[in-house]
């Protein structure tokens, strides 16, 4: 294998991104081509290889000025100006490494959990890795969308086939919720494609799209809905407890560690830079901060009363992602960096919690907190890992969770002190739901006979948890290397927001009135000169009555208020 890597020609930076995206697909083919029993080992080796390759990014990636590095682009669908283009910056590099690290760990953690239809399972896991990596690396919006949707299918099957009792309900709910948001985003993408005036779906072209504030707000709503469902932000979160609880352990790990990050990544990568005017709009900021805080508090309360440990952890995800949301919409360097660190920290600690719960379930076939007690006496290593992970999840100083939440709160305090103060109570609530759970599972009396045979971590399980625990402590003790790598890109996002907001405030900006006359066809059907084209010149008076009632496409004068995200006036 090593010689294979060495034989790849060219510089590391020329091929690494493509390798990260497509090597899992090679592994998928390998898994499908070999008998079922070996598939877990093969899948682990391929994802492990991808991880080893990706480690080089830590040193090879130079934060530079915050733009994309290692960019490459190949025409894909030339008729539409779609390119297959990848790139990496200080935001995505962490997400990519998180992906390449989490996937082999999730696969390793599933060795005993997944007992039926292994070949299909590991094939889907590798397909999922390709999708997630693609989301974080794509610099073409169309390509991004394809990867974004592509992650749905493997996750749907992973939850639906290997999940628990209510797996089908959970799988379908997950799928439909996410699809509503992403399809509306597709329409918004199309709108931007036409507004940019360039025949291209590239990130640059979309950044340069001339949008009035009103258009920005509508498009912002469509993008925020897509990403907000994925995150999930507070009122849109109801799919998450179902999906997380019903999913098999590796599925929960990938969901929590990676799929949720696609939403917050979308906030940072697309939502803020594309719609700077909307992102600074006071109503928008207020709404986002309120739903962020509401998520933190609400999820903490709900988590505190869960009898099922897995459901408890699922709700903690909502709370943690609330910190990301307030950090991002505080629009300060600290806030954005904090949000990003919470994303990494949550990926590591919640992933580890799900793995630990999976190990508990494998041993005892239950996840109810009341069925455990005193585990710490019979399984000390397990208990150690559990406690460190739980503390990291709460955000104890010295762990990754503290750095992230502290920065996010500081960042929020700089601009919205009240929000930060309320959100800070969420940290207390986190201790309130997590510590009793830890106590009831690990400590208390060892009063149940079945728990006496609770075996400690096996060697494989140590390999599963070791890297994650190490990472929690490393980020907690020495966050510098992480922060300095993300800072230029975070700065670039903020600069873009500030510049864009100023541009949108200028009176000369294009308003959407030109786009209002729908349906207006770009080319006259019968080309006999402009005067004969009835559509461009159609005034409301010449439109028959049914058309005037049509809420949508009525060729109405510009000042009519819009009725839908699309109907800009």
């Amino acid at each position: 294998m090593t010689s294979f890597v060495a034989s790849i020609p060219g510089l590391y930076e020329d091929w690494i991104l493509h390798a990260l995206v497509w090597l899992p697909v090679v592994g998928l083919v390998h898994v499908l081509a070999t008998p079922g029993e070996r598939s877990k080992v093969i899948a682990f080796r391929w994802s492990g290889l991808v991880f080893i390759l990706s480690v080089g990014l830590w040193w090879a990636f130079d934060p530079g000025n915050g733009g994309f590095a290692f960019e490459s682009s190949v025409p894909w669908i030339e008729a539409w100006g779609v390119n297959y283009s990848l790139g990496i910056d200080g935001i995505s590099v962490f997400m990519v490494i998180l992906t390449t690290l989490t996937t082999p760990i999730a696969i390793l953690g599933s060795f005993n959990y997944i007992r039926k239809r292994r070949k299909a399972f590991y094939a889907l896991m590798l397909l999922l890795q390709t999708g997630v990596t693609g989301v974080f690396l794509a610099t073409d919006i169309f390509l991004f969308y394809v990867f974004f949707e592509l992650t749905l299918v493997p996750m749907y099957f992973i939850v639906g086939i290997w999940g628990g009792e209510r797996r089908i309900y959970a799988a379908v709910k997950f799928f439909l919720y996410t699809a509503v948001g992403s399809l509306l985003m597709l329409v918004a993408i199309l709108y931007m494609y036409f507004s940019s005036g360039v025949d291209s779906f590239s990130y640059e072209a979309f950044l340069n799209a001339d949008l009035s504030l009103r258009e920005q707000l509508w498009l912002f709503a469509a993008f925020a809905l897509a990403f907000g469902i994925k995150v999930p932000i507070f009122p849109l979160h109801t799919w998450l407890p179902d999906a997380h609880v019903e999913a098999p352990t590796p599925g929960s790990v990938i969901l929590a560690s990676l799929l949720l990050k696609m939403g917050t990544y979308g906030f940072l990568r697309f939502l803020l830079p594309f719609f700077p005017g909307a992102a600074q709009h006071s109503t928008v900021v207020t709404v986002m901060l309120v739903v962020g805080v509401a998520g933190i508090i609400y999820a903490a309360w709900v988590a505190a009363v869960q009898p099922d440990a897995k459901k408890l952890v699922a709700y903690t995800s909502v709370a943690h992602m609330g910190f990301v949301v307030i950090g991002v919409f505080a629009l300060t360097v600290n806030g954005l960096q904090g949000g990003l660190v919470v994303m990494i920290s949550h990926g590591v600690s919640t992933g580890a919690l799900f793995l630990l719960l999976g190990m508990m379930y494998e041993r005892r076939h239950t996840r109810l907190i009341d069925d455990f007690g005193g585990i710490g006496r019979v399984a000390p290593l397990f208990a150690t890992a559990f406690v460190i992970t739980a503390l990291a999840s709460i955000g104890l100083p010295g762990t990754s969770g503290f750095i992230g939440e502290f920065l996010a709160l500081i960042g929020t305090f700089e601009t919205h002190a009240v929000v930060a103060i309320i959100a800070a109570t969420g940290v207390i609530f986190a201790a309130y739901y997590m510590l009793p759970m830890v106590q009831r599972v690990l400590f208390n009396e060892l009063d149940k006979e079945e728990n006496r045979n609770f075996s400690d971590l096996s060697r494989r399980e140590m390999w599963v948890l070791g890297p994650l625990v190490a990472l929690m402590i490393w980020i907690g003790v020495q966050p510098g290397p992480f922060l300095e790598r993300m800072e230029p890109s975070v700065q670039a996002v903020l600069e873009r927001v500030e510049e864009g907001a100023m541009a949108a405030a200028e009176p000369g900006a294009i308003d959407g009135s030109e786009l209002a006359n729908a349906p207006e066809r770009a080319l006259p059907l019968v080309d006999t000169g402009p005067s004969s084209d009835p559509h461009a010149t159609s005034a409301p008076a010449t439109t028959p009555a049914p058309a005037a009632q049509s809420p949508a496409a009525t060729p109405s004068p510009a000042p009519t208020p819009p009725t839908t995200p699309g109907g800009e006036s």
Binding site: W80, L150, V153, A179, F194, R521, D527, T528, P551, A553
Partner: protein, 503 residues
């Protein structure tokens, strides 16, 4: 080669695919009679029909490779639009015949008549796509419809088939009347049935509105019936369910394609001048169709009936292209028809296999655990379903995206939003089949090789592999196909440069 329609030999050349199939269809009919009812020959006639379609495809390919017409006045167009649509019909007919081979044999249907009717219906479709004259469209429509009426009621041992045939015939005849009346009114208003002449008259404003408005409305109703648009869809579920399944596949794909091709040429080319009169009608029809088709499909427990309602929903998506009425949308319509034909017939091929080449096992419960028993077919069915749902990575997504692009170019944002939201609804019922296939365990007797045995002949496997190949190719590397579709509509609408003659 330049074809000059003043020579009747050139006219024959321009109609070569149609001529080939006509001769072949009659040949198949005669052979069926000569061979009588003996068993064992039915597949042979099917293969002969396929050979006829292959020759027609060669003829179509010859026309496609740069043959052009002089002027643009003839009753039959020789343009990319027609020839691309012909590819759709040829593929649809060929796939339908292949998936019929075992079915016809097993159901002891009269093979000679069956295959020749499919061929005749195909000619009707080709005529509809080629027609540049309202009367010729009517001619093609009737040729197609009468053949399909007979095909729907073909299984005379099955009462539901007979009922479906009668229902389709009665309502279809009624709709033909509407269409004909519409043609008469438009002719009265413009003085010509030639679509280009109509377009000129309409453009000049010479057509009196008193005649044009009802004429356009009646044309829209007649064509909307054929493409099964809500509220003219009432016949569809019963007919699709009652018809022999291969015929349902043929109808849902090719018949719909032909009607849409004619719809586009009449409205977007011929009636462009009165766009303001009809776009709002079609806008509402598209919206209602997308919503109703998808919502009713949600509650179907028969996969065949679910696919019937989903085909109504797809009709709604295609109507969006007509409302958009630009070049992008016209190309998108062609591309969508091609992809839809392939994926829909692919899905029906699996339905027929699960039904053991008969009308059994149509309920969704029959699919429980199917994926694990037949993994390859399960994966194929999943790909067909994802493609029908318009999921990225499949050609269905590219096709749907292309439609959205056309709609966006005409600023039809609300219609686009309706399209994507109803698509989410459609995910539910397409995924439901997938979850039965993969997430439910089969009942005991089926797991033991009982009723859900899934009889799949080799020829069907070929169709499945070709369909899946096309869908993945069109989903991942759609460039060439998209360009082909875009090239096909070049010149469809800017014929005004050339001389236009009235009738």
């Amino acid at each position: 080669m330049l074809l000059d329609y003043s020579s009747s030999f050139h006219y024959v050349l321009a109609l070569l695919p149609e001529v080939v199939i006509s001769v072949g269809g009659m040949l198949v009919l005669i052979m069926g009679v000569v061979r009588g009812r003996e068993g064992g020959h039915s597949a042979e006639l099917g293969w002969i029909s396929l050979a006829v379609l292959a020759v027609a495809a060669v003829a179509n390919g010859w026309l496609y490779s740069g043959v052009s017409e002089s002027g643009a006045t003839a009753m039959f167009a020789l343009d990319g639009f027609r020839l691309f649509a012909n590819w759709v019909f040829l593929i649809g007919a060929a796939f339908s015949i292949v998936i019929s081979l075992a079915y016809v044999d097993r159901q002891r249907l009269q093979a000679g008549e069956y295959y020749s009717l499919i061929l005749f219906a195909t000619i009707g479709m080709m005529v509809m796509a080629a027609a540049r004259d309202l009367m010729v469209i009517f001619l093609g429509l009737e040729l197609m419809s009468i053949a399909v009426y007979a095909l729907v009621g073909f299984n005379r041992r099955d009462r539901r088939s007979a009922e479906a045939g009668l229902k389709y015939f009665l309502l279809g005849a009624f709709a033909s009347g509407f269409l004909l009346f519409g043609i008469a009114l438009v002719y009265g208003a413009t003085g010509s049935a030639n679509i280009h002449a109509v377009a000129v008259a309409v453009q000049d404003g010479a057509a009196p509105a008193a005649l044009m408005v009802p004429g356009v409305a009646l044309l829209a109703i007649g064509l909307a019936f054929k493409v099964a648009v809500v509220p003219f869809h009432m016949w569809t579920p019963d007919v699709y369910e009652g018809a022999p399944t291969p015929v349902t596949a043929f109808m849902a794909a090719a018949v719909k394609a032909a009607a849409f091709a004619a719809f586009l040429r009449v409205f977007v080319v011929g009636l462009d001048g009165v766009y303001n009169q009809w776009w709002s009608i079609l806008w509402w029809l598209a919206a209602i169709t997308m919503v109703a088709g998808n919502v009713i499909a949600l509650v179907q427990s028969s996969v065949k009936r679910m696919l019937a309602y989903s085909s109504i929903a797809h009709g709604g998506y295609l109507l969006v292209a007509l409302v958009a009425a630009n070049d992008t949308a016209a190309a998108a319509l062609l591309f969508y028809l091609l992809i839809y034909t392939v994926m829909n017939i692919g899905a029906f091929a699996i339905v027929i296999s699960v039904g053991n080449q008969s009308e059994e096992n149509m309920s969704i419960e029959s699919y429980a655990g199917f994926g694990w028993r037949k993994p390859v077919m399960g994966v194929f069915m999943t790909i067909f379903l994802l493609s029908l749902a318009g999921f990225p990575g499949t050609a269905g997504f590219i096709a749907k995206y292309n439609l959205l692009l056309g709609a966006a170019e005409s600023r039809l944002w609300v219609l686009s939003v309706i399209l994507v939201l109803t698509t989410v609804v459609s995910y539910w019922y397409y995924l439901r089949v997938a979850w039965y296939m993969w997430m439910k365990e089969a009942p005991e007797e089926a797991a033991a090789g009982g009723p859900a045995h899934a009889l799949t002949p080799f020829a069907t496997h070929v169709v499945l592999f070709v369909s899946v190949g096309l869908i993945l190719l069109g989903g991942i590397f759609p460039g060439a196909l998209l360009e082909m579709a875009a090239d096909s509509v070049v010149g469809l609408r800017d014929f005004m440069a050339g001389p236009v003659a009235g009738n």
